[in-house]
């Protein structure tokens, strides 16, 4: 089948676009979108986000890299997203291949397609998007004229279930690494070498992981025997890292969509990394060390961003913005300067122990929204186990201050199924919620609303809990029911995630290459948008495991040994395995580890010898 041209795709689409939901997802004409000339550019890249437009466009990393690549005259970068099911049906009916939004050129015509891996439950969408683009899903089936399929994002710290589908992964921060890779692709286009030779070359770039250069063998009991790199390939692939965040590229003219997206606002990145050291949190390990942007840089960016976007809201983003050392002065300056122009400030993630009600009031001067706290566990004992440096006193004091300041609704996030959890920890969740609600009532709030959300703990690679199993589904469900009965109070609302999704997430988070077969089978039998509860087909997934004779419990429910070869042992976040083991021990002893920002180095291993250090501006 010959592929359609951009003009043909556009013409066909025009016919049915008014009939699909949210047609603006598929147009690419947004304010500040970049439409470069194909003839004038040497390398054509498409960024592919394996979820719908409004989710993908809310992701800051993708936005940064889109503008970064386009800032090079010789590179062109366009975008594509997973079409929603109604659109996919129409495209498949009419034989329209997946295309990139800016030019409508089919994906197959690009030199490189870069997927962003934000969550495991988007993996099936990757295969579906490749298939919709008419590109063979397996690297081994692709020809020289097919695009390079690459991927980055947090899930590449264990990308093994995707190994046969992706030519190479970009681990770490891509600001410097990606342009290097594109430079090599440019050379390859001009002077083609054998596939293997090119892959060997690209594997020399910091953080580039080429899965086919590693041979994995297994023991009879299913565990990994060893991981053997091909000659010349790095034994361990270590993440790429930006040493000076203050000087790093940041787009001053981001795209402003013509439809509402999830995070529809200016995103000002105030810092990267978090060293609070919560032991379940992958982000808190893989983005180390903490590096801040200076208030001067941020104010200059804020000015450019307000002018170029016209947005009514600016969010200070990072893993934990309350910890940014200059947060107070920066917020005050922004409120003073842009408040009169109708621009408000918001903070996406607040941690109650770093959170100051005064700060919240500052933020709310222009706009009012609910407050969210994440104690994560119901008792001090368990909070010490997970190294969540929050006390009940902190939470109650802050809640009281918030009620006094006029808030009436508070959201509390917890996890269930954490290592060492016992009945008392569940009771602790219910007690805390009640205490918070009572404080509201005591302080004269009439519509007190406390929303308790629990998610099920999913062990993630490169964390102190990576060896831990996930708790069984039945007992997680019992815990949810228990909490539901304990939280019967008209002021309290209880939400929880379905355990099947969390289970599959754990399987893939801890999975190895053998899962690729399962993934492909599930996709061929209709699985996609697994993160969307109305699309998730758990039964199909179970059937996939069954058909291929692979036991998902082996991955999700098995405790691993320290001397097991982990599927991601050849991938390095810079935080050492020794540190993770120590942290695991300390967790089981209930001993806390303090934040290296405020105390001495705790020896996680990322800083020495890499030219990076904790970089605070306050």
């Amino acid at each position: 089948m010959s592929i359609m041209t951009a003009a043909e795709i556009r013409r066909e689409m025009e016919r049915f676009l008014p009939q699909v939901s949210k047609p603006n997802r598929y147009l690419g004409t947004e304010w500040n979108s970049i439409h470069k000339d194909w003839q004038q550019t040497a390398v054509h890249m498409a960024f592919a986000f394996p979820d719908v437009y409004e989710v993908g466009m809310s992701h800051l990393g993708t936005r940064i890299l889109y503008h970064l690549v386009n800032s090079f005259p010789e590179f062109l970068c366009e975008r594509t997203f997973a079409p929603w099911v109604d659109m996919e049906e129409k495209m498949r009916d009419r034989g329209i291949p997946l295309y990139a939004l800016e030019s409508f050129e089919p994906l197959k015509k690009f030199d490189v397609i870069g997927f962003t891996l934000q969550y495991e439950m988007s993996f099936s969408n990757i295969l579906n998007m490749l298939d919709l683009a008419g590109i063979p899903v397996r690297s081994a089936d692709r020809q020289a004229q097919d695009p390079w399929i690459i991927a980055g994002g947090p899930c590449v710290y264990n990308p093994e279930p995707l190994a046969p589908f992706i030519d190479f992964f970009l681990i770490g921060e891509s600001e410097e690494q990606l342009p290097q890779v594109l430079g090599l692709i440019k050379e390859q286009k001009e002077k083609p070498r054998e596939r293997r030779e090119f892959l060997q070359r690209v594997a020399q770039v910091q953080g580039v992981y080429v899965p086919e250069l590693y041979d994995i063998s297994y023991k009879p009991d299913g565990r990994i025997e060893k991981i053997v790199p091909a000659p010349g390939a790095p034994v361990v692939v270590e993440k790429a890292i930006v040493t000076d965040l203050d000087q790093a590229f940041f787009p001053s003219n981001p795209i402003v969509p013509y439809m509402e997206i999830v995070h529809d606002r200016i995103m000002l990145e105030v810092m990267r990394g978090c060293s609070r050291g919560c032991r379940f949190c992958q982000a808190g390990m893989i983005y180390r060390p903490v590096r801040e942007r200076s208030p001067q840089t941020l104010m200059q960016q804020a000015e450019e961003l307000v002018r170029s976007t016209g947005y009514e809201e600016m969010s200070l983003t990072s893993l934990s913005t309350g910890d940014y050392s200059c947060v107070q002065p920066v917020i005050q300056e922004i409120v003073a300067k842009y408040g009169p122009q109708g621009v408000g400030v918001s903070l996406p993630s607040l941690r109650l122990d770093s959170f100051d009600v005064k700060l919240a009031e500052e933020v709310q001067k222009v706009r009012k929204s609910g407050l969210t706290f994440a104690p994560e566990a119901g008792t001090q004992r368990l909070r010490d186990v997970i190294n969540k440096g929050v006390t009940e006193e902190n939470l109650l004091e802050t809640s009281e201050a918030a009620f006094k300041a006029g808030w009436s609704s508070i959201k509390l996030y917890f996890m269930i199924g954490l290592p060492t959890e016992v009945q008392a920890d569940l009771d602790g969740i219910a007690d805390l919620a009640k205490k918070v609600a009572d404080l509201g009532t005591k302080n004269g709030r009439r519509n007190v609303k406390v929303t308790v959300s629990t998610s099920s703990f999913v062990p993630k690679s490169h964390t102190p809990f990576q060896w831990e199993p996930q708790e069984g589904m039945r007992s997680l469900e019992e815990k949810q029911q228990y909490l539901r009965s304990k939280l019967k109070d008209r002021r309290i609302k209880y939400n929880y995630h379905d355990v099947q999704t969390s289970f599959l997430e754990a399987v893939f988070a801890k999975g190895d290459r053998r899962l690729a077969e399962v993934l492909e089978w599930a996709f061929r039998h209709g699985c996609r948008f697994d993160g969307w509860s109305d699309q998730f087909r758990y039964d199909t997934w179970l059937q996939a495991f069954h058909e291929l004779g692979i036991d998902p419990h082996f991955y999700a429910h098995r405790a691993m040994d320290y001397d097991d070869v982990l599927p991601w042992d050849h991938l390095d976040s810079g935080v050492s395995k020794r540190f993770l083991i120590e942290e695991h021990h300390r967790a089981l002893r209930g001993t806390r580890t303090l934040d290296c920002r405020h105390t001495d180095c705790t020896g996680c291993g990322i800083c020495p010898g890499r030219g990076v250090q904790v970089d605070l501006k306050g």
Binding site: R15, P23, T29, V256, Y258, T309, G310, E312, R367
Partner: protein, 243 residues
């Protein structure tokens, strides 16, 4: 200062949904550095208000928006600066300063004209088309089922259609219709054409439908006035009354 602006919303911009359009204008105004007036309260909103909503995918030849500004500005400058910041397909056509107490667009607009183009599923002759139109217009009631989350509801659309004509151009049929716009919910052009297909058995390819609102008016003493003209008349009247 309150200004009323007429604009067209064509090509790709026809996919911008009505609710999103307010944000598109708000952000364009901010980029153009035209200071908008805001509502009071916890959640200040810029004072921007539109006339009747245009459905997603429907083009508009002349639509209207009212905006309140913080300060006096030259209307030509407002239009010029704003135009540069608007999406492709939205063109500003005309703008005027409103007098204090001018009625909101929503309150006065009550009539709209549409042009609908679509392909024939089978050949249709001019005579056949005219017969269908005549027969449709003679009906006293035309019930049309709408499907919503609450289930189907029936609606008599006939009284809302003031005129309906059609002609054949090449492979396409082109309809011109004029309908009432009201607070009780109007009639959608695709419903009129859909009922022509069903009740009069006109073989139309509904998938190929292309709809354009050619105008939206204040029907006043038997005349279709633009909201500018209507405002002028209102202003004249209130002056007279003052004397």
């Amino acid at each position: 200062m309150r200004v009323r602006i007429a604009y067209s919303k064509l090509e790709e911009s026809r996919y911008i949904a009505h609710l999103d359009l307010a944000r598109v204008f708000e952000r364009a105004m901010r980029r153009a550095e035209i200071p908008m007036a805001y509502s009071e309260g916890f959640n200040p909103h810029p004072k921007i208000s539109f006339g009747s909503a245009l459905a997603v995918g429907v083009e508009g030849e002349k639509e209207y928006v009212d905006v309140e500004l913080q300060q006096e500005m030259d209307i030509g400058e407002v239009l010029g600066r704003l135009q540069e910041q608007l999406p492709k397909g939205i063109r500003l056509l005309e703008g005027r300063v409103l007098a204090d107490g001018s009625k909101a667009l929503m309150a006065v607009l009550n009539s709209a004209s549409y042009r609908v183009r679509l392909a024939m599923a089978l050949p249709i002759t001019r005579v056949r088309l005219q017969e269908a139109l005549d027969s449709w217009l003679e009906r006293e009631h035309v019930t049309y089922s709408r499907y919503s989350k609450k289930g189907p509801t029936e609606k008599d659309i006939r009284p809302l259609v003031k005129s309906l004509t059609g002609e054949i151009k090449g492979e396409e049929v082109i309809f011109d219709l004029e309908v009432e716009v009201g607070s009780q919910g109007g009639v959608r052009p695709e419903e009129v054409v859909g009922s022509l297909r069903e009740l009069e058995s006109l073989p139309l390819d509904m998938e190929s439908i292309h709809i354009k609102r050619t105008g939206i008016y204040v029907s006043y003493q038997g005349q279709n006035l633009s909201p500018f003209e209507h405002d002028q008349i209102q202003r004249g009247r209130s002056k007279q009354e003052a004397r």
